[in-house]
């Protein structure tokens, strides 16, 4: 049995969504502007998009690029971040490079990448990769740096080599921090996915959105925003579930009842 407070906590995101849609609906009815459809109109356009084979192929292509970019970035960034966190030399080598790349909007690099690699999948996946990498590297680095030295010594005394210590002690010990970085990375992957398709208009969810904008199909524009937003919320929720499972050992044992929430 859930307490009323727990039920409310669970229902809060849904209530927030409904509230947002209600405000939207009211505002659109008041403003009566062609480029601002009501929430109901936008929601009505969703089945049309999802029922259209071409649109579905586009959206799936987006998701595939996003998964690729995210996956490769995670596989590359976690080892790099962990190595940087445990080795002064590796950190000294990569730190200046990352400090320069960090503040540059990755989408701003797209024109150059497009020039070299074209407007296809590789370019867009690469931009997603760049967007995801930095937070994952950063959090892996911080996580690895914070690993208690005595824990590594205990492992060394048991006979673990330095590589084994990295994989079997630093990695699990830093996992909560790493996954925090991955969660940020996942949202960034979605953002860079849409941005990349906005710049290199060829296919994808972003392409549908901006084509509709060009053609003045505002209900489709808003429907796409809802679809992309829902994708983000779902991906984040799924990831959060996986994350919570993986790091159950590090979280407080009992959920503190937050009486005011």
């Amino acid at each position: 049995m859930m307490s009323p407070a727990a039920v409310l906590k669970r229902a809060a995101p849904v209530l927030a969504c409904i509230g947002l849609l209600a405000v939207w609906q009211a505002a659109a009815l008041v403003l009566k502007n062609d480029s601002f459809p009501t929430a109901v109109e936008a929601i009505r356009a969703i089945p049309d998009i999802l029922g259209d084979k071409e649109a579905l192929i586009n959206i799936l292509a987006s998701l595939r690029r996003m998964a690729m970019g995210f996956g490769v970035a995670v596989l590359f960034s976690i080892p790099l971040g962990l190595l940087m966190g445990r080795s002064r030399a590796v950190a000294a080598f990569f730190n200046p490079l990352l400090m320069v790349i960090y503040p540059v909007p990755k989408a701003a690099l797209m024109p150059i990448i497009m020039l070299w690699l074209g407007v296809g999948d590789i370019t867009k996946t690469l931009v997603i990769f760049l967007g995801v990498s930095l937070p994952v590297i950063y959090h892996s680095f911080e996580g690895a740096k914070a690993v208690e030295e005595k824990m590594l010594w205990s492992g060394a005394a048991m006979g673990l080599s330095s590589l084994q210590r990295l994989v079997r002690i630093v990695l699990p010990a830093a996992l909560p921090e790493i996954l925090t970085g991955c969660r940020t990375g996942l949202v960034l992957a979605l953002i860079t996915m849409i941005t990349s398709e906005m710049i290199a208009r060829q296919s994808g969810a972003g392409n549908i959105l901006f084509n509709a904008l060009d053609m003045g199909q505002y209900d489709t524009v808003f429907a796409m925003i809802i679809i992309v937003g829902a994708m983000g919320i779902c991906l984040d929720a799924i990831f959060e579930r996986i994350r919570a499972r993986l790091v159950r050992w590090s979280e407080p044992q009992f959920d503190m009842p937050l009486s005011f929430s």
Binding site: E148, W153, S154, A157, G159, P252, Q253
Partner: protein, 281 residues
Amino acid sequence: MKVVPSRSSEWVSPVTSQKPASAIIEIDRVSQVFQTSARKDHLALSNISLTIDEGAFVSILGPSGCGKSTLLYIVGGFVSPTSGVAKIKGQAITGPGPDRGPVFQEFALFPWKTVLGNVMYGPRQQGVRASEAEAQSRALVEMVGLKGYENFYPKELSGGMKQRVALARTLAYHPEVLLMDEPFGALDAHTRTRLQNDLLNIWERDRKTVLFVTHSVDEAVFLSDKVVMMSKSPGRIRQVIDIDLPRPRRRNELLLDPRYQKYVVDIERMFDESDEVGTSS
């Protein structure tokens, strides 16, 4: 009471063959210099020589900052000395190894492993089959008094329980020497007493060599065959005192024993004389 000045060659130099017990650890003129943030050299250990016999329970006692931990880390192979050499069974120590098992004040358990997972970690690393490692580990968990907690995660345990797990985890891979760095320092007085008793019971059963760092005089006298008194700035050995008390030692008997009391009082006085009794580490 037999008080031997630190310069005596009796336990400094290579062991003579007429001794029944053989030396397992030899520390030979070890010094450790640390660079402080002010870029000044800090002599943490100065010319330490010490021999530890196989099967002996030896405590290192001294005020905070006198280099007790550093000395233990050198024997563990976690820190290499600036000069001098530490040996185990005649071999120079160049790094950590499963022949020397550390138990730290901070427990340093693997938080993502359960109690059983932590204890099994060493044997599994050493190639013991899973079923066998598990059976041994379950027995060890029971021995340290944690039966029923096998599947708990470290975060679910109290400090005393964590230290019991840490001890079991180290015992599990059968190190020849236990290196304990103020293992009970973070525990409340009651828990500390219970763990001291349990450690003694375990030790009196299999007589592993133990190098035990503490800043508590009672603890050192209660547990040890030999107490190495250190002084600070620079860290050096002041005196080595043999504790000639019968075993098995029972706390309630020992506390009433005038010989025990005399050791404690004498050692405390020696620290007082140089005005350097440490309270914490």
